[in-house]
């Protein structure tokens, strides 16, 4: 945590304790450990996937179109003869970038808005809450569709749209977490120690709301991936021939009835695994950032 290193000298003992604690969390909960392993796999796919896949994900070859999974093409080939396995792996990078960036933006903006409204209260709080209510009153996917349709069909706009629909969840959570600690003893003590209100809020109150935020982040990463894939599925956002799980499912869907199930199944499976991984990671992340879980 950056606040810990900036407010007092971190000791090697403390860093060691953090590592030991992570190990403990993983050992205590094998599901968490499994989700971290899967997360590492997705990160690795995103980082080095494009360099290690056996085929060029964009190279078409009509001679081998619509082949069932085989040793040469473990996930089969699509209607243009592209290797589905290579495309699924290469798509990881784009899907992760969209979801992580969208969640990061909504986390930051939501945290700032929620922290201010929770700490200040009064009319700022009322106004902000009504604005957030308005956003949440829309069906979120329809809102995202509208934003992308209005702002133009690009990856950047998908990220922005996904971020906007997620902001209210963070803002509300942070607001609640901040407002219950506004009058806490350690907040008053921090003021007496000569901290300005901004410092008290940013370095003392906000970090204490991180544990529940981590659960929200991990669930949100899953939703963000689904959201981006959903937008691509209906033709908004990422354009073909770019490999992306949502488009690939959309393209493959046309072929399911004629028996070529692999085109839609494998990108869908990866989508499912990614969402699954993020959701499972939540509790583990919370336990890691919460010092009270350490004994």
């Amino acid at each position: 945590m950056t606040d810990q290193t900036s407010t007092a000298p971190a000791t090697p003992a403390a860093r060691h304790a953090m590592a030991a604690h992570m190990l403990y969390v993983c050992r205590e909960n094998p599901v968490t450990a499994a989700s971290f392993v899967m997360f590492a796999f997705f990160i690795l796919s995103a980082l080095i996937g494009p360099y290690v896949v056996p085929y060029d994900p964009l190279a078409t070859n009509s001679a081998i179109a619509l082949q069932a999974p085989s040793l040469a093409h473990p996930f089969g080939t699509d209607n243009l003869g592209r290797d589905v396995f290579s495309r699924v792996i290469v798509a990881t990078r784009l899907d992760l970038i969209i979801s992580v960036l969208a969640v990061a933006i909504s986390f930051v903006i939501g945290s700032i808005l929620g922290a201010i409204s929770g700490y200040r209260g009064g009319w700022i709080d009322s106004v902000l809450n009504r604005v957030l209510d308005t956003i949440m009153a829309f069906p979120l996917f329809v809102l995202a569709m509208g934003i992308v349709a209005a702002m133009g069909n690009s990856v950047t706009n998908i990220i922005i749209a996904t971020a906007i629909i997620n902001i209210p969840f963070y803002a509300r959570l942070v607001r609640a977490e901040v407002s219950i600690r506004r009058e806490a003893g350690f907040t008053l003590a921090a003021k007496l120690a000569g901290n300005s209100d901004l410092r008290v809020l940013a370095l003392h109150i906000f970090p204490n709301s991180l544990p529940p935020m981590m659960v929200q982040v991990s669930l949100n990463l899953g939703w963000a991936i689904l959201n981006a894939a959903g937008l691509s599925f209906i033709g908004l956002g990422v354009k073909p021939p770019t490999p992306e799980w949502g488009i690939m499912v959309a393209e493959g869907a046309n072929y399911i009835i004629s028996g070529e199930w692999w085109m839609a199944l494998f990108p869908g499976l990866w989508l499912l695994l990614a969402v699954f991984t993020f959701n499972l990671m939540g509790d583990g992340l919370r336990d890691i950032v919460d010092p009270r879980r350490r004994t």
Binding site: T7, A8, L188, K191, A193, P291
Partner: protein, 542 residues
């Protein structure tokens, strides 16, 4: 009537089984009032939970017998226990507000227990519930029947809890710290009420408390528990005047009471002479006609109605009063966490009340006025280690960094008696006394001249309280600090303070030197406070 033999209670935890109660035995006769006294972690509450079979998940009676009027409480079926709880054995819990359902009218909550034990029908339940409220001397019981818990004061809530506990005329009443968190005069009325009811109905009672004085006033016999074992048993006077076990002796000595010095609270081998200190003639802090008025929904609320007092250099002043008297508001204004409505706070002649509280964080005087908070747990950031908490004011208000900062934090820890190897622990890994020391070390870190102590020992066991009070006594002599000691406990104020200011309803009712106010109070309210404080039987000087 109740016979416990070799009772063992254990809890399953991450690190294997923990024995909370390790084989205790006692008997309770009909009509007897038993006190179980011990400090936190002694197993006194767990014993009562085991009798009621309401132990937390993972807890179980590992061995031993508990027989109530021929019923084996350990082996009784859950449905049999349901009939026993409330009708035969009832319990009053520590926090009355938490023991009541916040969204149900209190009258209905009494009806629930009457209906559960078939003591009332739908037709006469209301009538009986009102009668139960009248039995605990609630005025205008019919109107209170309709009240929700949040509309009632703490003392009133505890009366409701007592009404629920006694509604079905149980034979045995277990009261688990029934007056913790209540004001001292409320404590007296609640305890007197329970005592009268128990005697009038010929019930037996078990009072579980950490307060030896309270137990000695309201019990016929006391058992002292420590670490899950009974160390001593006897009648209150004998226990006080001639304790056999060293632990009982230490507990008796650590209880603040009339006529002792602060050092006598400590075990004999730790009684070093009190360090000398000088009280100057110049005023350090002059509070003049200080007022605080809030705008409430139904007009202005006068929390502090124009109070004036002076703290001289090196002097310790006690600010005494019950909840709602304005003592916390006063201290918050002095420490600049709250704006004053009007009046002056002169610190060495400079008026702090004119400086906005919001900007005071960067004022040079910030370091000179510091505060120790009531709840040590709540006042430490759960994400910061003890070292980070103590270093915080130094980082903000001094230029110490790196090794010098580390050395200063360790010096402060040593000064407050906190072992330096505990500095890298988080608050939840420290005991209550250790957390209190971290809070004190943090407050004295920027070298304040005035330390405001807001009930710093209220949440601590008496033996820990004795240590902390003596630490405060040493620190003021060593560092030349003045104290404003905010407390409801007159016995503690008497030990530590030179002067005392008694507040009631936002105004000062009496002020003067400790000996004047305590030994010859002129105001009836002060007299009431003094008489309400439970006094342990005086120890014969042998």
């Amino acid at each position: 009537m109740l016979s416990i033999h070799d009772l063992n209670v254990s809890f399953r935890t991450r690190r294997g089984d923990v024995n909370a109660v390790k084989g205790i035995s006692f008997d309770l006769a009909k009509g007897e009032r038993l006190g179980i006294v011990g400090e936190s972690g002694s197993g006194k509450s767990v014993t009562s939970y085991a009798l009621m079979r309401i132990l937390d998940a993972g807890g179980r009676i590992a061995a031993g017998e508990a027989v109530y009027s021929g019923i084996d409480l350990r082996r009784a079926s859950e449905s049999a226990m349901k009939d026993i709880r409330g009708r035969e054995i009832s319990m009053i819990f520590q926090n009355p507000r938490a023991a009541l359902n916040p969204i149900r009218k209190v009258g209905h909550q009494i009806e629930d227990v009457l209906r559960q034990h078939a003591q009332a029908t739908a037709a006469n339940a209301k009538e009986k519930a009102i009668a139960a409220l009248e039995a605990v001397r609630i005025n205008d019981a019919a109107a209170r029947y309709e009240a929700y818990p949040f509309e009632l004061s703490g003392g009133m809530c505890q009366r409701i809890v007592i009404a629920i506990a006694l509604a079905c005329n149980p034979k045995l009443l277990i009261a688990d710290e029934p007056t913790t968190g209540l004001d001292i005069t409320t404590q007296k009325t609640v305890m007197d009420l329970v005592d009268d009811l128990v005697r009038a109905r010929g019930m037996s009672s078990i009072l579980i408390t950490h307060d030896l004085g309270l137990a000695s006033q309201y019990c016929d016999r006391i058992v002292v528990m420590k670490d899950g074992l009974i160390v001593e048993e006897g009648d209150p006077v004998a226990l006080f005047t001639n304790p056999q076990h060293p632990y009982t002796n230490r507990l008796v000595e650590a209880t603040p009471r009339r006529g002792v010095r602060i050092r006598s609270l400590l075990p004999e081998d730790q009684r070093t002479p009190e360090p000398p200190r000088t009280i100057g003639n110049d005023p350090l802090l002059d509070v003049i006609n200080l007022k605080k008025t809030y705008m409430g929904k139904s007009g202005p609320v006068h929390a502090v109605k124009g109070i004036s007092f002076t703290i001289r250099e090196g002097e310790s002043v006690g600010l005494v009063g019950e909840s709602g008297c304005g003592k916390s508001t006063t201290s918050a204004m002095i420490v600049r966490l709250l704006e004053a409505s009007s009046g002056q706070i002169l610190y060495r002649g400079e008026d702090l009340a004119t400086l906005p509280a919001l900007q005071f964080a960067h004022h040079p005087l910030r370091s000179k006025i510091q505060m120790v908070f009531q709840d040590a747990t709540d006042s430490l950031n759960p994400r910061h280690t003890a070292r980070q908490s103590i270093a915080e004011p130094l980082l903000r208000m001094s230029k110490l960094r790196g090794d010098k900062l580390r050395a200063r934090v360790e010096e402060l820890a040593t000064l407050t008696g906190l072992p330096t190897h505990l500095l890298d622990r988080f608050p939840h890994q420290l005991s209550g006394g250790q957390k209190a020391r971290v809070g004190i070390a943090r407050a004295i870190a920027p070298d304040p001249d005035l330390l405001i102590l807001d009930e710093p020992t209220a949440a601590l066991d008496v033996s820990i309280q004795a240590l902390v009070l003596n630490l405060l006594c040493d620190l003021r002599a060593r560092l030349g600090m003045s104290y404003l000691f905010v407390s409801h406990d007159l016995n503690v104020v008497r030990l530590l303070c030179d002067k005392v200011v008694v507040m009631k309803g936002g105004a000062i009712v009496e002020a003067g030197s400790v000996s004047d106010v305590m030994d010859a109070p002129s105001d009836p309210y002060t007299r009431e406070l003094l008489s309400a404080a439970p006094q342990a039987p005086q120890r014969s000087i042998a």
